[in-house]
Subunit: 366 residues, 2 copies
C-alpha cells in the first residue's frame, strides 16, 4: 500500500496510526466480540467510548465546566439553521461577521429560517476586498442588543484565519464556526458562547458535528423546534436522544487521544505553525510565480490557497503534482488556482514534499 | 478474535465479509492512496461509491424511476419532524397509525413541530391492547383529505410487523418508517409515497438515514425550513448539499452488494423467514416457559421479544446466554424480558445457537 499526501479540504487525511488502530479493532473492539459499528449505543462499551471522547476533548481544549459538549449530526450547514433557531427569539436580532464563503452561507441560512420573525444583520464584511483578510476593528459595528455575534474563525475556501485574541471586545455572546481549524491551536473557550465544528477536517469522519455551548444559552429554543435540533434536549440526553453516529464519534475519540500523545494543542500549534511557514515561505519566495492573496496577519495555517501567475500552467501543475503523490490540490472553483489544506493530520514531511515539488515545478516553468 | 452472536436491536451486527472488506480498504481504497473516510465527497472516487450505492439499492428494492433516493443525517427521529415539515402545509392534516413505541413517537414529534399550524391525527391505535398486534381494517379510519398516512411497518420494541399487502387500501399517500425491516423482504415501493429508514439495523452504521420519496411530494416545504431538511434541495443536490456521512454511505453500499450476492431480497426473505420460524417454534413449543405476546400473523421476523414465565430467571438467562456468546438479549425496558433482533446480518447459525441455549436453559430451569 502506498499512501498519498492528501491535501483535501475535507473529508481530509486522518492520522495513519489512528486508522491502523481502527483497522485492528474493526471486527472486535477490545475483546467485545463485535466492532464499534455493531454495538448498541446504550451499552457499557459505547458509553465508555463517548465519555472518553468528551473527557479528552474537554482536556485538550480546556473546556470549562459550565459548557456542554454535544455530538450532533447534520454538519456545520445544519448548525447555520440550528443556531438561530435555538438562540434567536421572536423579534430579536443577531449579528454576523462575513469574511468568506462560509460565513456568508451562515448569514443566508439564518435569514432563511428566521424570515419574518427575527433580524439577521451583517455587522461587518470584507466581501468588497475579495475576502482576503479578516475585519479590522473599525469595520465591525456590533449591535450591543444582538442575541449573538457569529464569526467563522477559519474560512476554508479563502484561507483567512483569526485567533480569538483578535476578535472584537464585546459583551455580546460570540458564536464561532471553527470547523476547519478546531484543535489546531489552543483556544480560550471562555471567550465564546458557542463553538461548533463539522468533524471532517480536523476531528474525524464526516457525519458528526461538535457543538460546545455555554449552559446559560440552553433552553431558549421554541417548543416547536425539531427535538433533535434542540440543544437543551440533546444536552440532557448526553447527545443520545436517538442513536448518535457511533463510529464517527469513536474515530474522533481516537484522534483526540492522538492529539494528547502529541503533547496537546500547544505542541500541535507549533507543528502547524512550522508547516504553514514552510509553505508560505515557498510561495512568497517564488518571485511571483506563486501567489497567496491573503493579508499576512490573517493567513490560515490550515488552508493555503495559491494561484500561479500563469494560469495556463494550472493543468500541468495539477497533473504533475498528482503523479508525484500530492493529491487534491485543486482550488475551490469560486477562487480558482490551488489550495493545500494542511490540517493536523498532514505530516510535516507531506508539506516538505509539496514545497519541493513546487520549487522544482517553478524551476522547470519559470 | 472470537465474534459473539450479536442480537443488538441497533446499532446491530454487520456481515463479517463486509467488515473484512472495510478493514482491507481502510487505509487505501482501491489504490486511491487514502481511505474512504479521507476522501473529498466531490471527488470521482466517492462519487462512484455513492452512485453505486444508490444503483444497488434501486435494484434490490425495485425502486421506480419517479422516486428519489436520499442519503440524509439525523436518524428516523429527525424524520419524525422532517416529514410533516416537508409534506404538511398550513391548515392541512395528517393521519398516523399507532402500533408501538416508534409510531407513537412519530405522532408526538409531528404534533410538536406542527403545533398551531396543522393537524396531526391518530387514525387507529393498538395501544389499548398493549401494542401486541397490527391494526385490523375496521380499526383504521383514514381521513381521505389527509396529506399522508404514516405507518411504522416494523415496530422494533414490540416486535409487530406488517407487510405492505396488508396495509389499508387508500388513495392517501402512505409514508412508512421501515427502519428495522427494510431490505429484509421484497417490498412494492410503488404503494408508498415515502419510505424511510435509519441505517443502523439492516443497512449499515448509524449516522445515515435513507429516504425514498416519490417526486411529486418534493417542493412542498415552506421557504423557511432548514435547507438540509428540505427533501427537494437534497434531491437536487444528490444528497450532497453539504458533506454527507461518507463512510456510513460506503459501508451501506457494501451491504447492498452483499445482499445482491445472496440473491436479492426474495432470497434474503427466505433466510429471514426460516430464522424467525426457528425462534418462534422454540418459544411456542416451550409449554409456556417462554412467551411472545404478539398475534401470530403480526409477528416480526426481525425483532422477537419474549418473556420468561418466571421473571426471577431473567438475570440468570442473561448472564448464562452472555457466557455462551449470545449478546444483547435484554428486552427494551418498556416491555421487559428479552428481545432477539435477528436482522439480515444475523446468520442462521446464530439463531440455532440461541435456540439451543434456550432449550437447554429451559431443561435446567423448568
Amino acid at each position: 500500500m502506498s499512501r498519498i499526501w492528501n491535501f483535501s479540504a475535507g473529508p481530509a487525511v486522518l492520522p495513519a496510526e489512528v486508522l491502523e488502530q481502527v483497522k485492528d479493532e474493526l471486527l472486535d473492539w477490545h475483546g467485545a466480540g463485535c466492532g464499534v459499528m455493531e454495538m448498541s449505543h446504550r451499552g457499557k462499551e459505547f458509553t465508555a467510548i463517548i465519555e472518553a471522547a468528551e473527557a479528552d476533548l474537554r482536556e485538550l481544549m480546556g473546556i470549562p465546566g459550565n459548557y456542554k459538549v454535544l455530538f450532533l449530526q447534520g454538519g456545520a450547514t445544519q448548525q447555520f439553521a440550528q443556531i438561530p433557531l435555538n438562540l434567536l427569539s421572536i423579534g430579536a436580532s443577531a449579528d454576523y461577521l462575513v469574511t468568506g464563503s462560509w460565513s456568508k452561507k451562515a448569514v443566508k441560512e439564518a435569514q432563511r429560517v428566521m424570515a419574518g420573525t427575527a433580524s439577521v444583520r451583517v455587522a461587518g464584511t470584507t466581501e468588497a476586498s475579495g475576502f482576503t483578510r479578516f475585519l479590522d476593528a473599525a469595520e465591525i459595528a456590533i449591535d450591543p442588543d444582538a442575541a449573538y455575534v457569529h464569526v467563522c474563525t477559519n474560512e476554508t475556501i479563502h484561507g483567512v484565519e483569526v485567533d480569538c485574541s483578535r476578535l472584537p471586545q464585546t459583551t455580546v455572546p460570540i458564536v464561532a464556526d471553527m470547523s476547519s481549524h478546531i484543535l489546531s491551536r489552543p483556544v480560550d473557550v471562555s471567550k465564546y458562547a458557542l463553538i461548533y465544528a463539522g468533524a471532517q477536517k480536523n476531528i474525524g469522519p464526516s457525519g458528526v458535528t461538535i457543538v460546545i455551548v455555554r449552559e446559560d444559552l440552553l433552553g431558549r429554543a421554541p417548543a416547536t423546534i425539531p427535538t433533535v435540533m434542540d440543544y437543551a434536549v440533546m444536552a440532557e440526553n448526553g447527545s443520545m436522544l436517538n442513536t448518535p453516529p457511533t463510529f464517527a464519534i469513536y474515530v474522533s475519540g481516537l484522534v483526540f487521544k492522538w492529539l494528547k500523545r502529541l503533547g496537546g494543542l500547544a505542541e500541535v500549534e507549533k507543528i502547524n505553525a512550522h508547516k504553514a511557514e514552510l509553505l508560505y515561505v515557498c510561495i512568497d519566495g517564488s518571485e511571483g510565480f506563486y501567489r497567496n492573496p491573503v493579508r499576512v496577519a490573517d493567513r490560515s495555517r490550515m488552508n493555503v490557497p495559491f494561484t500561479l501567475a500563469n494560469p495556463e500552467l494550472d493543468a500541468a501543475f495539477l497533473a504533475e503534482s498528482k503523479a508525484a503523490g500530492l493529491a487534491s490540490l485543486k482550488g475551490h472553483k469560486s477562487v480558482g488556482g490551488m489550495r493545500a489544506s494542511i490540517y493536523n493530520a498532514m505530516p510535516t514531511d507531506g508539506v516538505r514534499a509539496l514545497v519541493e515539488f513546487m520549487q522544482d515545478f517553478r524551476k522547470r516553468n519559470a
